[in-house]
Amino acid sequence: MAIEAYKVKRIFEGVLMAAAGKPLTVSYLAQLLGKENEFENKALKEILKELSEDYRGRGITLEEVASGYRFQVSVDLSPWVGKLWEEKPARYSRAMMETLALIAYRQPITRAEIEEVRGVAVSSNIVRTLIDHEWIKIAGHKDVPGRPALFVTTNKFLDYFNLKSIKELPTLKELADLDKAAVQLELSLNENAETNNQTESG
């Protein structure tokens, strides 16, 4: 049975709701329609766009994240919806967030490279927790002695933070211009050499 486009919208609506927030890709949705209902990806995306517009101003929105499309409660309703859950949302340690940030911005990255920037050892617990959450995974091994694992973030990580791609992460704070800094250092070096001698002896 071939189905009409307007029915496809209903099917997608129902299926995405049944998936209850698990993102579904366009190609997965296309496959769900079966071989007898071939639609171009473009047409399906058009249908999803229409569906998304149907929900404009309502209590939920259709969003696209890294692993596909999902329905979410409109963000402004979070205070009301948050009351549904008795449990407090999970909080993560600074060590965990710094490790995650380094992997997100510097991927692929080894554990030693993370430790180099943070100045402290990365606990195995943190790495294991991040892998358990499926926020990071081992993408391969660096071709250096010891062949250390190279960590990258996953689509699940992006989904969790409501992102479509890693490019959507806020840009890192620019470092104060190191060249300029170098010049400044050069200049101050001579002065400082003296100052330091004084300070030191003082």
Binding site: G14, M17, A18, A19, A20, G21, I60, R70, F71, Q72, V73, V75, L77, S78, V81, G82, L84, W85, P89, A90, Y92, R94, A95, M97, E98, L100, A101, L102, A104, Y105, V117, R118, G119, V120, A121, D159, Y160, F161, N162, L169, P170, L172, K173, L175, A176, L178, A181, A182, Q184, L185, E186, S188, L189, N190, N192, A193, N196, N197, T199, E200
Partner: protein
Amino acid sequence: MSEIDNNNTNNYATIKGEPVTALPKDLYIPPEALKVFLEAFEGPLDLLLYMIKKQNLDVLDIPIAEITKQYMEYVEIMKDVHLELAAEYMVMAVMLAEIKSRMLLPKPVADESEDDPRAELVRRLQEYERFKQAAEDLDKMPRINRDIFLAGAEMPDIEIKKPLPEVDIQDLCFALKDILQRAEMYEHHQIEREILSTRARMVQILVDLPADKFVNFEALFTLEEGRAGVIVTFTAVLELIRQTVIEMVQAEAFGQIHIKKIGE
């Protein structure tokens, strides 16, 4: 000098032979909270950054001598409150001392290209600060079940189909061919092998069987021995059962067969 009672006999540390009865100037923290405070640092870079920010110093122009002194004070306090001091803190202390000593050396006139000894430290501090900030920003980003909530609906009652595995009829054919070829191959090997003795196998089974523990019947067999090997093992097991040396248990039809030595 400090808000902490100097008459308190509680000395925090000893630096250069002098007891330090006061905390560093900027540390207006009751001693009981000190441990918590010090534990809050994510490492030496974090601690250094804190010291620099606290005193409104320019990261690009750190007064090394002063910072090193303060850093060592913190490290001494950490040791004193029995905070498990990570080796990284000591490594940083050594690095600071080294920078300090290099800055004391007069700069050779000829070598103009020499970097400021602080450059590497500055680079690391900046790099760390960047990711410290990135981590804070990431933590503030909307995330599921805190700022974002997923939407869904109840599924209708459905019958979930379990699809059969995809098997090609040719695969079936090849599978049969494989088994027979394999069986044949082992038979050929068999000729070069010493003849398997049932009695020897009986002994081997008895030696291998752990006392008072059931093992899988299948575990007794080795595919590599071929059909003859299987037969020898099987005969050995039957003989052992007949002699009531071992017992055989099968809980259900087609269930796993277990073998156990009969205890003395």
